[in-house]
């Protein structure tokens, strides 16, 4: 199996995730798209482990998962606290600093 295919799949998922971050207005969905991008990076790392024949890529992927879990916890807490004060999860509504 050519590991290039996995890298191309990772690139596709990363691009779809980035489109989602740019297009979706719901903060939760945009955040899930960020998670998709992290997943795509994980796939690329695991495929990289396959290319080089070592386990370093898989360890890196594991650490990405740890950081993603921490990021989700803090990000969701921020979304919840914004929702509590603004009663909205739309990213367009968080514009208090706008002129």
């Amino acid at each position: 199996m050519n590991p290039e295919n996995y890298l191309i799949l990772a690139a596709l998922l990363f691009s779809i995730g980035s489109i989602g971050v740019l297009v979706r207005r719901n903060a939760l969905v945009a955040f899930m798209c960020v998670e998709l991008m992290l997943n795509a990076c994980n796939l690329a790392l695991v495929a990289g482990s396959q290319i080089t024949g070592g386990l370093n890529g898989q360890v890196a992927s594991f650490f990405v998962m740890v950081v993603a879990a921490a990021e989700v916890v803090v990000g969701l807490a921020i979304i919840v606290s914004i929702y509590k004060t603004r009663r909205s999860t739309s990213v367009d509504d968080a514009n208090l600093l706008k002129l």
Binding site: L9, V23, L43, Q58, L76, V80, D92
Partner: protein, 270 residues
């Protein structure tokens, strides 16, 4: 490539050509589905497909971690927050920046094209596998543990510090300070009675939803004795969603049945 490896290789290939389209479909569903819950479900599909792909890439530990951490913990947390902030928070169709959506999609396609053109043909070394690396310490988790607690021990320590900080930070962020004293049951009851005295509001429980011959759904409002709809018998959430069933046709069936019964009784009287 040795003939021994051919069954293994084709197995991975079959898994890839099943898992990869599913992952892409899930990702597209995440971006393009209107409702947030459908987006979350599509995301779960993409994540599980990726876990299958990890398994086919000789990374069983990561496949399990993917399912437990991502589809188990992270997606559940997303769904909890979605339930908390209201599933029906609409995704506003108003564009704050003109032409941002088509441009964003164009940029995404451009990024994909750029990455794919960079990837194609970039791997020149012969295909390797992690089979030997896995076998070195008697298994994939053992091999990962050797690296994690050996070469990457400081990264591991930092990760643990990060997790603790994130947990404390999330608690502080999501904590709400009470600015008004909590109202107890006595005060609530007094408020209800005061509202009854001032505005004539009914102090008792709300009426239940309507029960008809053809439906007893909570979306069907009850009728008052004069035939009009009791507005308080229906949940405000259902009203906002537009899921309320019109009770008048439902009640008409009952009226027709009563009329038929009465006609029979009149016939018997004669």
């Amino acid at each position: 490539m040795s003939p021994m490896l051919i069954p293994l290789v084709t197995g991975a290939e079959v898994t890839f050509w099943i898992g990869a389209p599913l992952a892409v479909l899930g990702a597209l569903g995440l971006v393009f589905s209107r409702r947030a819950v459908y987006a979350a479900l599509s995301m779960a599909v993409a994540m599980i497909s990726l876990a299958v792909l990890y398994a086919s890439l000789d990374a069983p530990f990561l496949a399990m971690t993917q399912i437990i951490v991502y589809t188990g913990a992270v997606m559940m947390m997303f769904l909890f927050v979605m339930m908390m902030v209201g599933v029906d928070t609409p995704d506003s169709a108003v564009e704050t920046l003109k032409g941002q959506r088509p441009l964003a999609i164009l940029a995404g396609i451009g990024l994909a094209a750029l990455l794919i053109f960079a990837i194609i043909g970039s791997i020149t070394q012969p295909a390797a596998t992690v089979v030997e690396a896995n076998a070195q310490f008697g298994g994939n988790p053992q091999g990962l543990a050797n690296l994690m607690f050996g070469r990457y021990i400081f990264v591991f320590e930092l990760a643990s510090a990060l997790l603790i900080t994130a947990a404390v930070g999330a608690m502080i962020l999501a904590h709400r300070q009470r600015v008004t004293p909590k109202r107890d049951q006595r005060e609530l009851a007094q408020e209800r009675m005061a509202a009854y005295a001032d505005k004539g509001e009914h102090p008792g429980p709300l009426p239940n939803s309507g029960v008809y011959a053809t439906t007893n759904s909570i979306a069907a409002p009850a009728l008052l004795p004069d035939g009009s709809i009791a507005p308080k018998s229906i949940s405000q959430t259902l009203l906002l969603r537009g899921a309320v069933i019109d009770p008048i046709p439902l009640a008409k069936v009952t009226d027709q049945t009563f009329a038929a019964i009465e006609a029979v009784e009149e016939d018997e009287d004669e």
